[in-house]
């Protein structure tokens, strides 16, 4: 049984290969500490992240989702992240509208040089998801 006091959230992080993933790598090799709650899924671009992946992750019981890509203007594919930004703006607003806590699904821009910032963001997201507690909405229970 999971003990409520030492419950740790599980967070899926979709990281763009060209920036945030390398940023995470940099945080690693620089030995910057950050919470070990994230499970990384490497994607070629933040634009590759279908909103369905996020909903599916929630359905499968992850407590939080983070999508992180290159800063606007720095996308390896020029505008993948800018198109993604539109999709995510709608998705985030819609999920909140139907009553899913806004902290559960988050988006960020982290470059390959920002190891420290990557650690900070993970810290922040993990803290927020922890406060929300285990996910109940949307989860598929058998």
């Amino acid at each position: 049984m999971e003990n409520k006091n030492n419950w740790e959230p599980k967070i899926v992080a979709f990281l763009c290969n060209w920036c945030s993933y390398a940023g995470a790598d940099l945080a690693g090799v620089s030995r910057t500490q950050y919470p070990s709650n994230i499970r990384v899924i490497r994607v070629p671009c933040s634009g590759r992240v279908n909103p369905f992946y996020i909903i599916k992750a929630l359905q499968n019981g992850v407590d939080g989702v983070l999508v992180s890509g290159c800063h606007p203007g720095d996308c390896h594919y020029i505008s993948g992240n800018l198109i993604a930004r539109r999709k995510f703006a709608l998705l985030k607003s819609f999920l909140e509208y139907i009553g899913i806590e806004p902290g559960r699904v988050q988006f960020s821009w982290v470059s390959a040089a920002e190891g420290g910032r990557f650690a900070q963001i993970i810290e922040k997201v993990t803290g927020e998801v922890k406060k929300l507690g285990p996910i109940k909405k949307m989860v598929k229970e058998f």
Binding site: Q59, G73, L82, L90, S93, F94, G99, F142
Partner: protein, 330 residues
């Protein structure tokens, strides 16, 4: 109006401008019409125009222009279609998404005076569905209905209008070949989004409860999808097996996935025609969710569906300074 419509259709056939005309025909039940496909000048008399022509006819168009038909060297037909404001906007969407060629269409735009919500008639006269309505007649803003016991009731059309029609913003299509009908009907279009604002004010948990309540009624019959002109996908995500997005279960989480998925797929495309709501046999309040996306798309990207043929669809483009307050530490 119907005489004018028939006249135009007759002329179109006579001048050999169209092969098929899509309009409305008499329904088999009172208060209903059925889509009517006319293939020659002889059947034009079948056409009707009344306050029950609520189907969005655009839904029938994509199937005439499937790429495999062209591959077989079959020529695409030239189609004439009757279009209310909402149908017209759906047609624009389909042209923009390259599902139907503009040059094969002859759009008879009609300035719509609003369609009646059958449920409102039933609720106004009797307790719903307890008594059958055997006939309905329309005359100058009044609807006269008669039930099986010969009880007659006269109702004002205005009070029976469907929710989507009450505050309709575009009563006539913006893109058409001819336009029939008087001037634009006055509607309370400013109040359109009031119900969204109202819902947004509710606490998070209450909103979730409502979403859950509505979704739990869904039997996944997919009628909402079938009725929607935007849902022309050859294989809908709901039917896909690789990846399998939705389990073949009654689990509410799977139903939620379908609902969220379908509604998100309407982003920047939904014209608020109400076809999905009418098609739903479970009376689910789908509009409160689809309309939220209409509002957001307008607010975030300044875009409205079905208005222009030139403007790029909102999710196929971007602006460098698009809204990004939602990003964690931007």
């Amino acid at each position: 109006m119907i005489e004018k419509i028939k006249e135009v259709v007759k002329k179109l056939f006579k001048e050999d401008k169209i092969d098929i005309f899509i309009g409305y025909g008499e329904g088999t039940l009172p208060l209903r019409t059925t889509p009517c496909f006319i293939t020659g000048p002889d059947n034009i008399e079948k056409l009707v125009w009344n306050s029950y022509c609520f189907n969005n006819l655009a839904v029938y168009l994509p199937r005439f222009f499937l790429p495999q038909l062209q591959k077989k060297d079959l020529k695409f037909p030239r189609i004439g279609i009757l279009a209310k404001g909402c149908d017209g906007r759906s047609i624009v969407g389909l042209i923009k998404e390259h599902q139907i060629p503009r040059e094969n269409l002859y759009i008879i735009g009609i300035n719509c005076s609003g369609m009646i919500d059958i449920e409102k008639v039933q609720n106004a006269v009797y307790k719903m569905q307890e008594v059958e309505i055997v006939s309905a007649k329309e005359k100058s803003g009044k609807v006269l209905v008669e039930n099986e016991d010969n009880k007659k009731v006269e109702l004002k059309k205005e009070e029976l209008l469907a929710e989507v029609c009450k505050n309709c913003q575009y009563t006539a299509p913006l893109i058409y070949d001819v336009l029939i009908g008087e001037e634009k009907r006055k509607t309370k279009e400013k109040e359109r989004a009031a119900f969204i604002k109202e819902f947004e004010k509710k606490p998070l948990e209450e909103r979730w409860k409502y979403f859950q309540e509505q979704v739990s009624k869904c039997i996944r019959c997919y009628a909402c999808r079938q009725a929607c002109p935007n849902c022309y996908c050859k294989e809908c995500f709901a039917d896909q097996t690789r990846p399998k997005w939705i389990g073949a279960t009654e689990n509410i989480s799977d139903i939620m996935f379908f609902q969220i998925g379908r509604i998100l797929h309407q982003a920047g495309r939904c014209v608020d025609c109400g076809a999905c709501v009418r098609a739903c046999p479970m009376g689910i309040d789908l509009r409160i969710f689809t309309y939220k996306l209409i509002e957001d798309v307008k607010e975030f990207f300044g875009y409205e569906a079905g208005i222009s043929l030139e403007e790029a669809p909102p999710l196929a483009t971007f602006k460098p300074d698009d809204k990004q307050e939602f990003i964690t530490e931007p």
